[in-house]
Symmetry: C2
Subunit: 390 residues, 2 copies
């Protein structure tokens, strides 16, 4: 077990009507004039935004809207938000939406009090010190941004998609989680979200650190819960209990509790970011394609943790060496993703001739010649993994 520091100060309010606490929570943390971020308008059509803004009005909190945030959010919207916040002298932000909206709000929050260009933080040229406080009303359980200190933004210039990770500075002050708000998510988005949260756990689970039984067992528990509840939300999108279990799982998958005391991997995320950049694939969908390929490579090169996952989580009870058990587990996880309607190969989404040379080149340009915590990978190996994803 490695030394670690862990702090999750986000206040979670979970359950029916959670969004109605928006006003009192903003007031609790002392905000009076906020920018409310949202995406392409589903929160308007559903009436959610109106319901939330009424709560802000009731508490006397001024608000200005910043809508139109796109999936895989980019820097121009962040700059627009920074300008807006400065113009109206906003003292904080409320994100109403999923990961893209929350990540954009966090990036704005970091940028407003900073003299330089906000991208400095993402480029590793500066460290976020102070940031405006951010609150969240979550509508898509997937990215886990409601409980994390992370924010993924793409710089349009060069299409650089980078995840900034902070310990504390960008963790939301509060997150309001009402599972009912997720009833209307399209199946594809629900399924992609499930793949995303599973990947958040697996990136931490596939660690070179031994002797982290407690973190392994917690991670395995969250994975098992997701795999038990996922088919229920696909079968019945308005199953409150299943939606609730999935929503809370998505938060635990990425608030750090599944990573304590160990090095992490994150190569599958890096490889997926290149896929998203090049082909515009939904992040979670891309992960459902990359992860089995990455695991298949590992089954042949470093199988022990894949085999542990197979035995403990995926119900593989066959006798055999770790490689055999790992491969059986990968077959099971592919079946599981398929059962949710997710693709597990590039061919499944119609990409029959992927530009692997380009993907590998961009991957290592962005992330370095050698990547990976669980197993070190260079271009020949990442090429092999992209090929396994065909």
């Amino acid at each position: 077990m490695e030394n670690f520091t862990y702090c999750t100060p986000t206040k979670y309010i979970f359950g029916k009507g959670a969004e109605l606490h928006a006003g009192e929570e903003l007031k609790r943390i002392g905000l009076k004039n906020v920018v409310v971020c949202y995406g392409k308008g589903s929160v308007i059509r559903s009436g959610l935004l109106k319901r939330v803004l009424e709560r802000l009005d009731a508490e006397g909190i001024s608000h200005t809207e910043l809508g139109g945030i796109e999936p895989n959010p980019t820097d121009p919207k962040v700059r627009e938000g920074i300008d807006l916040c400065r113009q109206i002298n906003a003292d904080g932000l409320l994100a109403v939406g999923g990961g893209s909206t929350i990540d954009t709000a966090k990036a704005i929050a970091a940028g407003v009090p900073y003299d330089g260009d906000f991208w400095d933080f993402w480029a590793g040229k500066a460290t976020v010190g102070t940031a405006l406080p951010v609150g969240v009303v979550l509508t898509i359980p997937a990215a886990g941004s409601e409980g994390s200190g992370n924010s993924v933004i793409t710089l349009l210039d060069g299409m650089r998609k980078i995840s900034l990770r902070t310990d504390f500075a960008l963790r939301p002050k509060f997150a309001l989680l009402n599972p009912e708000l997720t009833y209307t998510l399209p199946q594809e988005q629900t399924a992609a979200g499930i793949a995303d949260m599973m990947a958040h756990i697996l990136e931490r689970y596939f660690s070179p650190t031994a002797d982290v039984e407690i973190t392994d067992r917690v991670s395995e528990g969250v994975l098992m819960a997701i795999m038990e509840e996922a088919p229920k939300v696909i079968a019945d999108p308005c199953n409150y209990q299943a939606r609730a279990n999935i929503m809370w799982s998505g938060t635990l998958a990425h608030n750090g509790i599944c990573g304590t005391g160990r090095k992490e991997d994150w190569v599958s995320h890096f490889m997926e970011h290149e896929l998203s950049s090049l082909y515009g694939i939904t992040h979670g969908t891309g992960l459902a394609i990359v992860f089995p390929a990455w695991m298949t490579f590992m089954a042949h090169h470093n199988p022990w943790k894949v085999a542990q996952l197979a035995r403990r989580v995926l119900g593989i009870e066959i006798n055999g060496d770790d490689t055999t058990v790992a491969l059986a587990g990968i077959k099971r996880i592919k079946e599981f993703f398929h059962s949710l309607g997710l693709p597990v190969s590039l061919a499944d989404i119609g990409i029959t001739d992927p530009d692997i040379e380009h993907l590998v080149k961009k991957l290592h340009e962005n992330k370095g010649d050698e990547i990976g915590g669980y197993y070190h990978l260079r271009a020949p190996q990442t090429t092999e993994i992209y090929n396994l994803a065909r």
Copy 2:
């Protein structure tokens, strides 16, 4: 799944040398003049206190000592601490020790800014609003107080042992967790701590709330990790990895993550508090005696969750109805406690003629005529459980 609010703002610094952060952490939260609480002197003999105080000196933080805190801490020490804090105008407390020391520090922290008597909070006559900030250097993984908002104090007048539970007010600002500090714990104390942390999970696990798969699975994961690592620390008290896993498990067992979204039980704790009061038993030891008895009663009256525990955590694979499976699980857990050197009955600790009438009378006087979340119990039933613990 029930609606819930969850917030754990405690900053955990975990690993070798964690205690050396005491000065900088106190400074980070703005403290300049603290009372340092500890127990009966082992932290002096081990040199830990000196090492910690040197870090305070290095940061220019004034400190005054309050030693001599006893196990099962009582109100006179709390009053002494409140007087001391007021006298020197302390702005916070640092607890160096286990649950008793931390709980005493928390009680002092609540009492100092309060005009009335601190016991008002424990008696349910007042709610903790503000409290002095508390930091922790943990030496005994057991009570989980380093991450909880709770504090258990006994009022000598009438020997009323009461656990105060707060959402946020009494959660430590930081907790420094160095597993090496636990190498020198006597086996009995290590084992009792393990029973205590397991009980903290089980009190939450035995819930009447259905459909909390995510919280069940996390709880089961922490329990499995404890049961795998516990024999290692008993066999080799200086096994760093096992000590580390146990220490972090003890925090997760009680910081609330195993309780989200459901009603909890806590009857076994209530019943054990009466045993401790009457016979001076170590809390964790008493829990190892009460819990199997409580579970045996449930195996016959409401077995489903005991059976789930048996199947998922205790490795019971026999076919049979829930009662049969539950009873096999209870046999397994008793064997496990015995293997750690813990008693599982009152007879095991030489109490052959327990005053059950007195225990039941005090229990219901303190906690009400009907108690229990998982199953409602009145005097005839609690009498039966105490009898099962003989």
